[in-house]
Symmetry: C2
Subunit: 357 residues, 2 copies
DNA sequence: GATTAGCACTTAACGCAAAAGAGTGCTAAA
DNA sequence: TTTAGCACTCTTTTGCGTTAAGTGCTAATC
């Protein structure tokens, strides 16, 4: 990434401009840079440098008599090379830990709390995503009778997700049928993917159930639904109101489109699922391929357990997002979660070993 | 409700003004009313009537040379007395039925789908609410072992809601302990409210569990959480982007506050839980006691099962909401759900009787 | 007595030109 | 290579007369 061919001074100036624009929101001029950044040179010199930075594509001038604004490439350079390494303060980490620890047992809640936290800490909109995994199988079925026409179906996926569905039957459930059904499902449907549940299998199940064959259809349907639910991504936003603080979202029409896109979820899920990095990802403006986000940036980080991704949390804001702060915050939160997961695993392994003896 | 002391002509004019303002969004003048409403009188007459209507508090004049805008009282009168009774077309009802029927088994999903539907049909923001019930007890516990340190806890509430929680234990779970735990919980915690789970009860459970006493604490905590989850209200919005179409939400700051309030949920839950009517409720502007909603209206209707409310769906929009359309839509959707619930119940009763024979 | 035509009056909205402000690019000197 | 200085450009603000919409009132009419 030929980022190195910038003089130190150019880097300093670019950094100053980006940071000034991030918290001012307006084009920044040479004079301002000179006054607020201990650079030992005059505004004229800065102007010259700025002109060159513009030619290189890192800055943009809204109009002749305005200051400069960072271009997408400018932000990219800033994020890649200029933003300082963030250092976590112990205090904050402790706070984060306390808040998250109580939610560790419920994946959905954990992600949600984490993104909410990210949102309040950064003043941007938080995103919690449970991405498509594309390889869900069931590891256990359990059936709990409720009354003559209802039972609850508890399913545990290979990934350890527990889901419950209520099933309603048209006819009265015969004595003992549910026990048989449970046994049958456990032997026939465990470990196979949703696309492997074919008609022959269903028919065989129906034969085996005999006079209670009518139970098979709704139950299988329910299994199928759950597999798709676990598999299919889900996304939750928090702190939408933060967006409105930034003038770049003042255009109601554009904002409406953005909200619509966010609500339909698909595009964002797609976006996140094609993430390159295993660490923190930063998508600036049109890098994201979603049109309505051309003026926004999305920063997100995967949450992992035993090495594979179980969720994503992130932050959405204007392109002139405070990357330094956001990177730090997401790093903190992601780090805390991963650490807790690890502690968990170690605990578990220790116990297993103990059990083996 | 002294609504009757308006002459027929005044009513006609008020109705015309309200409806014109609803779909134009701007103050309406006497001339416009004269031209577009088959009133056999001149604009001067209408002006006189309008002046009187203003004095009575039904209309408001933004400034001297502007037309009139309905006041809150004006909308209230319109909704109470002037809006025409809506008639459902069979076609739409069929559509609604089809969409909702597949979701009947999951309360959360049903409400969500219903509100989403309301939102797209009306072009306002949809709200789905699961209100506080304040009287949750459990009717059944079931425990499903997962591995040496994890098990799933399935709980069925008296209201028929099924919830699952994963429980992680610090020590390895002893053989047979879970079966005992399940039995114990079923006998000790069924039918009692969350506030009745006191320390003495927990201590007795621990004694009874003997060497597996360490299981009691996390499990009870989990029961407690679930009871509060079922009890505590929850709220989901859909179609937020619709709001932005209306110029009354152009003020970003105000909109931000509104979004914040909506997200924190409490106020809206409170609002809905104090609903007076068992049918469709209409809260116009400041009637709602939530400050940020002074320029908005909220229309909602409870969803009932066997006579008591299990959820609320509604629509949020500008004060000049198209009440006619919204009332019709919510009526349709609510009607469809109730009807389906009834069919369900009848089915169930028929089966029960059959089983008795 | 109710209705209507006509007109003066009020006020927001619009358009436009002048002034102000901000920031640049360039030139010439240090 | 840096910098002071200045002319230039373009946006933003301000002020002001004009326009348009809609009313309230009065006097005539039904």
């Amino acid at each position: 990434m030929g980022h190195e061919n910038l003089s130190e001074r150019k880097k300093l100036i670019l950094k100053a401009i980006v940071e000034a624009h991030i918290d001012g929101g307006e084009p920044v001029g040479s004079k301002y840079i000179m006054q607020n950044n201990l650079l030992s040179c005059s505004s004229a010199t800065i102007r010259n440098e700025m002109a060159e930075l513009e030619q290189m594509g890192y800055l943009v001038q809204p109009h002749t008599s305005a200051g400069r604004v960072p271009s997408e490439a400018g932000y990219r350079f800033y994020v890649d090379a200029l933003v300082e390494q963030y250092a976590r303060t112990t205090h904050e980490v402790v706070q984060i830990n306390q808040l998250l620890r109580t939610k560790m047992n419920e994946l959905d809640q954990l992600l949600d709390t984490a993104s909410r936290l990210a949102s309040t800490m950064t003043n941007y909109t938080g995103i919690a995503i449970k991405p498509k995994s594309n390889s869900v199988t069931m590891s256990k079925f359990e059936i709990i009778p409720m009354d003559q026409n209802n039972f609850a179906m508890v399913m545990i996926s290979s990934g350890g997700v527990v889901k419950t569905k209520k099933v309603k039957t048209a006819e009265t459930i015969p004595e003992g049928a549910l026990a048989r059904l449970s046994e049958l499902f456990n032997s026939a449907l465990c470990g196979i993917g949703a696309d492997m549940i074919t008609l022959p299998i269903i028919m065989r199940l129906e034969v085996e159930m005999g006079d209670a064959a009518f139970l098979v259809n709704p139950t299988v349907k329910c299994v199928y639904e759950v597999m798709n639910e676990i598999d299919g991504g889900e996304m939750k936003l928090s702190g939408l109101n933060h967006l409105l603080k930034y003038p770049e979202y003042a255009d109601t029409e554009e904002l409406g489109e953005l909200l619509g896109t966010l609500e339909s979820q698909e595009e964002i899920l797609e976006l996140v699922s094609t993430a390159e990095s295993d660490d923190i990802n930063v998508l600036i403006g049109s890098e994201s391929s979603v049109k309505v986000m051309n003026n926004s940036s999305l920063v997100f980080t995967p949450i992992k357990k035993n090495g594979h991704t179980i969720g994503v949390i992130g932050v959405l804001g204007p392109r002139r997002m405070n990357y330094k702060q956001v990177l730090k915050t997401l790093g903190d939160i992601g780090g805390s979660i991963t650490q807790m997961m690890d502690e968990d695993r170690q605990l578990k392994e220790a116990n297993t070993k103990e059990g083996d003896n």
